[in-house]
Amino acid sequence: MQISREQMLRAYRQMVTIREFEERIHVDIQRGGIAGFTHLYAGQEAVAVGVCEHLTDTDTIISTHRGHGHCIAKGCDVIGMMKEIYGRQDGLCKGKGGSMHIADLDRGMLGANGIVGGGPPIAVGAAISAKVLKTGGVAVSFSGDGASNQGTVFEAMNMAVVLKVPKIFVFENNGYSEHTGFSYAVGSKDIVRRTEGFGMPVFKADGYDFFSVYEAMRQATELSRQGGGPCAIYAECTRFFGHFEGDPQLYRAKDEVARLRAENDSLKIFRQRVTEANLLPGGDLDQVEGEVRDLIDRAVREAVAAPAPTAADVLTDVYISY
């Protein structure tokens, strides 16, 4: 696999940023600073980063309700994101959207999305744009195991194949849709074969291993960028927190998260891989971690201090002109 030292360090920085961002929000929510529904991505970092490290601002992604990781991986400003989650006037979406609706169109980030299954059809449209406008870009949708059962996702897969557009479906199977297990809700228990049934290749990846996702996405982009039509990536992974902040997680075995944190932590796995193979010295990784912690501290400090939106702001941005 070809990946430079700089790329590896960058990927690690992105993964650590997602982790620190989420761990910090988990704590801050209990202090009452953050309103609304918040779904944390911690545990799944290798997928977002392994996918997005192959993308540029010309490529588009669309995310889910669990969107922070995808946003960070696609290059959204972390301080702007934190401000948005705190509902601030200078947040990335001016406090109008919050955690579930963070978007940055300049970065090709078409939004987190509160409607499960809302994203993939939109990404088909982005792929049509890429094809018609000859941007050379690909459009990527992220969907969970739960979303994979939504009719809109089936429609998107079929239409992408029919239209042969540069569209990559990323399925992140974290084992649950809310309180319901994957093995119950996905009838065939096999998202890969179901996706292949639509007529596209699926690249399987280990969702805990950045390098595995990175390699799968390399193959996927190679195919889709060269006019080979849509394809998919399938990765099994886990979320370290509940479905939403406040979820008592009664559906989960008591020791499940502790075990996964010990054995299936994508950050630890990354560190082990690169230090054992002498690809990167541990000190470099330590330094990244320190810098990221400082960044997250600063993001929270600035978010807390940032001005709140005003009543007049309610009325803006409904239309461009009216």
Binding site: A35, G36, F37, G87, R88, G95, K96, G97, G98, M100, H101, N113, G114, I115, V116, G117, G146, A147, N149, Q150, G151, T152, G175, Y176, S177, E178, H179, T180, G181, F182, S183, Y184, A185, V186, G187, L250, Y251, R252, A253, K254, E256, A308, P309, T310, A311, D313, V314, L315, V318
Partner: protein, 337 residues
């Protein structure tokens, strides 16, 4: 009489009716939860707001159905089951997700009876959580009931308290037409006195929440408790209002509203939906058309603005009708000629 929450009242009604009528089934996402989980706890949720708790252990998996995330098929399957002998109570977790399954409501459930020349019977209830107040932002806070109220063939129920919720839900499940049952998420924990046993509240019969002389106030859902606060406060000043909660918007108890407006000559309608083509506009138009000569002042509508529901605390607070806005409207309609 015991005081219980609206959540408990709805849960009680579901238990009562499933016990009474074996044709009643419940289906939706995470209505019990826990299937395929690793803890072995089969009822790990009982609905994301706990509305369906206890149904699975009591009535079993055939009648309490956890579905995949597939709103079109949840409502479609409820339609089909209703046409063929069951009395399904489907849950759409958030009313906003009606966007995903609109065809099954708009073109299927609402139309069978009419299109099939009166031969179909679709005894179906679709429960959904609606409304703001939880900073849940644009895709999890809408009211939606104006859209569904406008569809001939659907009945629409919007309770504002635990007592009404229980009686109206029992009526809804026993009704032979498709009924959309809205539960305002900010009312779930509000308590009032609710009888233990079975009772029903007819559709199309408004509740006269307060009686007065000077102004008619019509309010829906969470706006009812807000309006009660304002009306009681103004009563201490000698300004008295009829406060009317229509409880169902389809059918709508026009006569109760008109009778009050004819007596007071002044009307304020309060709803948290955006103003265009809304229930508030509908009621205002009805009063203007049918009680025009009794009106002493222009009708005032207190609604949300024509915008999506914003996220930030300050924005949502400014978006939603508040007691201050309701009070200002009542004072204005009194001063208006």
């Amino acid at each position: 009489m015991p005081k219980i929450s609206m959540r408990q009242a709805i849960n009680d009604a579901l238990h009562l009716e499933m016990e009474r009528d074996p044709r009643v089934i419940v289906l939706g996402e995470d209505v019990s939860g826990g299937a395929g989980g690793t803890s072995g706890e089969r009822e790990a949720a009982g609905g994301v707001f706990g509305l369906t708790k206890g149904l699975l252990p009591r009535f079993g998996e055939d009648r309490v159905i956890d579905t995949p995330i597939s709103e079109s098929c949840i409502v479609g399957a409820a339609n089909g089951a209703a046409l063929t002998g069951l009395r399904p109570v489907a849950e759409i977790m958030f009313a906003d997700f009606v966007g995903v399954c609109m065809d099954q409501l708009l073109n299927q459930a609402a139309k069978f009876r009419y299109m099939f020349g009166g031969k179909a019977r679709t005894p179906l209830v679709i429960r959904m959580t609606c409304g703001g107040g939880m900073n849940a932002a644009a895709q999890h806070s809408q009211t939606i009931y104006p859209i569904l109220t406008s569809i001939p063939g659907l009945k629409v129920v919007i309770p504002s308290n635990a007592y009404d919720a229980k009686g109206l839900l029992l009526t809804a499940i026993r009704d032979d037409d498709p009924v959309i049952f809205f539960e305002h998420k900010s009312l779930y924990m509000d308590e009032c006195e609710v009888p233990d046993g079975d009772y029903t509240i007819p559709f199309g019969e408004a509740a006269m929440v307060r009686e007065g002389e000077h102004v008619t106030v019509v309010a829906l859902a969470r706006m009812v408790p807000l309006a009660i606060g304002v009306v009681d406060k103004l009563a201490a000043e000698g300004i008295t209002c009829d406060l009317i909660d229509p409880r169902t918007t389809s059918p709508l108890d026009e006569e109760s509203i008109l009778e009050s407006v004819r007596a007071t000559g002044r009307l304020v309608v309060v709803d948290e939906s955006p103003p265009r083509c809304s229930v508030a506009a509908d009621i205002a138009a009805m009063a203007a058309e049918k009680a025009f000569h009794h009106l002493k002042a222009p009708i005032i509508q207190v609604t949300a603005p024509h915008t999506p529901v914003p996220f930030a605390r300050e924005l949502e607070a400014a978006y939603l009708p508040s007691p201050e806005k309701i009070e200002a409207a009542i004072r204005k309609v009194l001063s208006g000629r």
